[in-house]
Structure formats: C-alpha cells, structure tokens
C-alpha cells in the first residue's frame, strides 16, 4: 500500500497533468453528439446507433429484471395469516358486490352494445394487445419519464403504438428493438395526447408536466365555453389511423379546473388512472390479426398466437 502511495506520488511529480487535447476532444465529441441528435429530431443520425445499442442492452436488462423480480416479491411473503384472513374477508365482500353489479350491468351493456353497433358498424370495438413487462425505468435525473418493456419488433411491437394497462393509458412506443421497446409515459413533459371529456364529449389536449412520477396532467379544452367538472373521466380522442394513440382509452379523472382571462382556453388538472410508480404488466395495442411471436390477448377475451 505504502509503495503504491509512493508510486502514485512519483507519478504526480513526473507531471501527470492530463493532456488537454484529450479533454477537448471528449467535450467536442459530446457536443457533436448533442448537435447531431438535437438537429435531427426523430430521424436523427443517432437513431440507428441508439437502436443498435438497444439491441445489445435490451436482453441484458431483461435478464437482470427477471433475476430481480422474485426478490421484489419478497415483502409479500412476510404477511401474517391474520393479514391474509382479513384480505380474504375483504375480497369476499368485494366479490359479492361485484357479482351484484354484474347482474345489473348486463342489461346496460347490451343496450350500449346495440347503440355502439349502430354508430360504429364497421369499426372494431376492441383492440388486440401484446402483453409485456416493464424491465427498466429511466432515472429521474434524466428528467424524462420513459420505461423499457420486454416486447419488441419480434413480437409485433413498433414505434407509435399505444401502451395501456388494466387501469388506463400508459403511453406510446417511441422506438423498438428486436426484443425490447422504449415507451414514453403520458406524464413525460414531451407527451401530448388528444383527450375527450366523458361527460360532454368535448375534445382537448393533455400535456404531461414531467414533475415526479405520479404528477397530474394538464388538459386544455379547445372550446372555452365548456366547463370540465371534477370527476369527469378523460379518454383518448384517437389519432389518425390509430397511431400513436387509439381512441377510447381512459386516461384520467379531472380533479380541478382553472381559467384565466388571459388564456383563451380553460385548463383542467387530470389525475392519471394508471399508477406509474408500480408499473409492471402492460399491453401494447397491435392491429387486429397482426402476426406476433407471442400470445395476443384479443378484444373478446380470447387468446391466439
């Protein structure tokens, strides 16, 4: 150890000043990379490199995540029998309530199906989903909200596809490698989604704030005479050709409404339905009948390969 100290000190005395040219070259390389990527936008020259790096890192991230998954489930092993009994009671009560609801809901659903059948004859009512797990999350230090999922082009997942989970809209795919895809969450500051108010069918634009993982979204209504009510559910308006967002996916609930005389439109705060802090199983909306390498969950509850 002492010898090492001495050695490194000797190196100091020998003048271990870093060659300035190396530093300058590295900074210039970084700035060049930034310029290339900033100017190019979505078809930037860095995109192929990004994809290639993704091909390499994707499987490693999948493996790591698969290795970590059993350990994240450990806390649930330590629940006592009492806790479990309590939960069974709670679930039984909930089940009874749900059963009652389903009995009455059938009639409503049939009526709705008839109405929908009239208005949307040709369009398919549901979407086919490719199931996927979240395997990596972007650090908040990068100030963007993105995740990696373990389904890629080999499973029929491509850029500009809608990603959702049981609760509602999660985000959209920005790029896909063979085995993984990168998803921008709706809470990201760059995310813009067309939304429709459930109560008045009015349309508006939802923007992410990019502050925190569970931050609310801002809804700007196109028509300023319409007032959003707290509790209103906002769903996707849908994009042309279903890309990047298909229509009718619930996004969130209005929690507060603001209006300022200076702005021409009213702003509403929308709380997302999806819990982004514990995101795991998601579904990617793929075209009906798409050929994918893994099981697809069909709109009618069926399952095909």
């Amino acid at each position: 150890m002492g010898e090492k100290r001495w050695k490194s000190k000797g190196r100091l005395e020998a003048g271990d000043r870093p060659r300035r040219s190396v530093l300058v070259a590295l900074v210039l390389a970084s700035v060049t990379l930034i310029t290339l990527d900033a100017r190019g936008g979505s078809d930037s020259p860095v995109e192929p490199v990004r994809r290639a790096v993704g091909e390499g890192f994707g499987p490693v991230e999948s493996t790591t995540s698969a290795f970590v998954r059993p350990f994240t489930a450990v806390p649930s092993y330590f629940r006592s029998k009492g806790d479990l009994r309590e939960e069974i009671n709670r679930l039984q009560t909930e089940n009874a309530g749900l059963r009652r609801e389903v009995d009455t809901a059938d009639l409503d659903r049939n009526r709705l199906a008839e109405l929908e059948g009239l208005t949307r004859t040709a369009r398919s009512t549901g979407y086919s989903l490719v199931p996927a797990n979240v395997i990596a999350l972007g650090p908040r230090q990068s100030f963007s909200h993105t995740v990696t999922i373990d389904a890629g082009t080999s499973s029929g997942v491509h850029a500009d596809m809608t990603v959702l989970n049981n609760d509602g809209l999660v985000g959209r795919v920005v790029r896909a490698t063979r085995t993984t895809a990168t998803v921008v969450l709706v809470v990201d500051a760059d995310s813009v989604v067309g939304g429709r108010l459930g109560s008045s069918m009015e349309i508006g634009v939802l923007r992410g704030r990019g502050t925190g993982t569970q931050s609310p979204l801002d809804l700007e209504l196109v028509d300023d005479s319409v007032v959003a009510e707290p509790g209103d559910v906002v769903s996707t308006f849908g994009s042309d050709g279903g890309a990047p967002y298909v229509s009718g996916i619930p996004i969130g609930k209005v929690t507060a409404v603001y209006s300022s005389p200076r702005e021409t439109s009213r702003r509403a705060v929308v709380e997302p339905l999806v819990d982004f802090t514990s995101l795991d199983l998601v579904g990617v909306v793929v075209p009906d009948g798409a050929r994918t390498g893994r099981g697809v969950i069909k709109a009618d509850g069926g399952h095909h390969r």
Binding site: K4, R5, S8, R11, A14, D16, P18, R19, V22, L23, L26, V27, A29, S30, V31, L33, I34, T35, L36, D37, A38, V46, V49, R50, V53, G54, F57, G58, V60, E61, T64, S65, V68, T72, I135, A136, L137, G138, P139, R140, Q141, S142, F143, S144, H145, T146, T148, V174, R175, T177, T180, A181, T182, A189, D190, G210, T211, G212, T213, T277
Partner: protein, 170 residues
C-alpha cells in the same frame, strides 16, 4: 493486455448502467436512483487520474444516453460525465484519498454531473423542467450517491488498482 483492461472497465460501466435502470428503480425515491455509472467514473478518477476518467466518463455517458429507455438528446450525459471524470481526477491530486475525501469527491461530482446534465437540458429545451424541480432532483441524487459510496467505491477502486499498469512511467 491493455485491450483486456479496457474491456473490463467497459463491462463495469455497462453493468452499472444496467443495474441503474433495471434494479434500482425498485428502491427509487420519487424516481431518483443512485447514479452508479457516475460512481464508477469517480472511482476511476480517484485511482487513475483525470485523463483515464474523462475517457471512461465519455463511454459511460454515451451508454446512459443510448441504452433503452433513454429518450433525451444523446450526448448530454456524455458531456456531464466527461466533466465529472476530469474534475474528480483533478481533486485527487490535491487530496490523499481518505474515506472523508472520497465521500466529499462523490458528493461534489454527483452535484456537478447532474447539474451539467440539467443545465444542458435548460439550454436545449429538452424537456422543459422548472429550476426548483431540478434542484430537488439534484440534491436527492447527491444523497443517493453518497449513501451508495461505501458499497460501490471500495470494490470498484480496488478493481481499478488491480487494472493499473505495472509500469506507470509516462
């Protein structure tokens, strides 16, 4: 032999990047995770000096910028970690690497690194985040990096010492 050394250093950086996105989100506080790649660069700077650390910082930064799920403008973390490698390497010349100075260097490096990244975002408008929000994230990141220092720095520094060429005459 030097190729092997480079390969080992490269795999340490890759491992850090993968753990950062796949393992640590489970322990994240408000989405902020410890920046393992930055810790590796600081370790390299303390053992091998600014030049090696700046090069390693560039490699680590590019890896963070390009590995999924990154979607920010590429090159921003590269720039931040080049600065970190250089600054941390210079600090080491004035201080003997004791436990206290290592922790201080990590804290300063983490602050500088995340700040450079955040400021480059302000300049490029990618994404637009408020300054108080940035400060909060930067401070949490510093706390995380300092907390992880006793677990990450000693083994990584030992590894880089072993990787050091037997002859150090330049």
């Amino acid at each position: 032999m030097s190729l092997l050394r480079a390969l080992v250093a490269f795999s340490v950086v890759c491992l850090a990047v993968v753990l950062q996105v796949s393992l640590f989100p489970h322990f994240a506080w408000e989405g902020v995770v410890p920046n393992l790649a930055l810790l590796v660069v600081v370790a390299a700077a303390l053992v091998r000096g600014p030049q090696f650390a700046a090069v390693l910082g560039f490699v680590a930064g590019v890896a963070i910028d390009l590995a999924p799920p990154a979607d920010h403008i590429a090159g921003r973390w590269a720039l931040a970690l080049v600065v970190v490698g250089y600054v941390a390497g210079r600090v080491r010349q004035d201080l003997r690497p004791t436990a206290g100075s290592v922790v201080l260097t990590v804290a300063a490096s983490s602050f500088v690194g995340t700040s450079v990244f955040a400021l480059s975002g302000l300049v490029l408008h990618d994404p637009v985040v408020s300054v108080p929000e940035m400060l909060q994230v930067i401070l949490v990141a510093v706390v995380w990096d300092v907390l992880l220092t006793p677990f990450v720095l000693p083994p990584v520094m030992a590894l880089f010492r072993r990787l050091q060429p037997a002859e150090v005459a330049y």
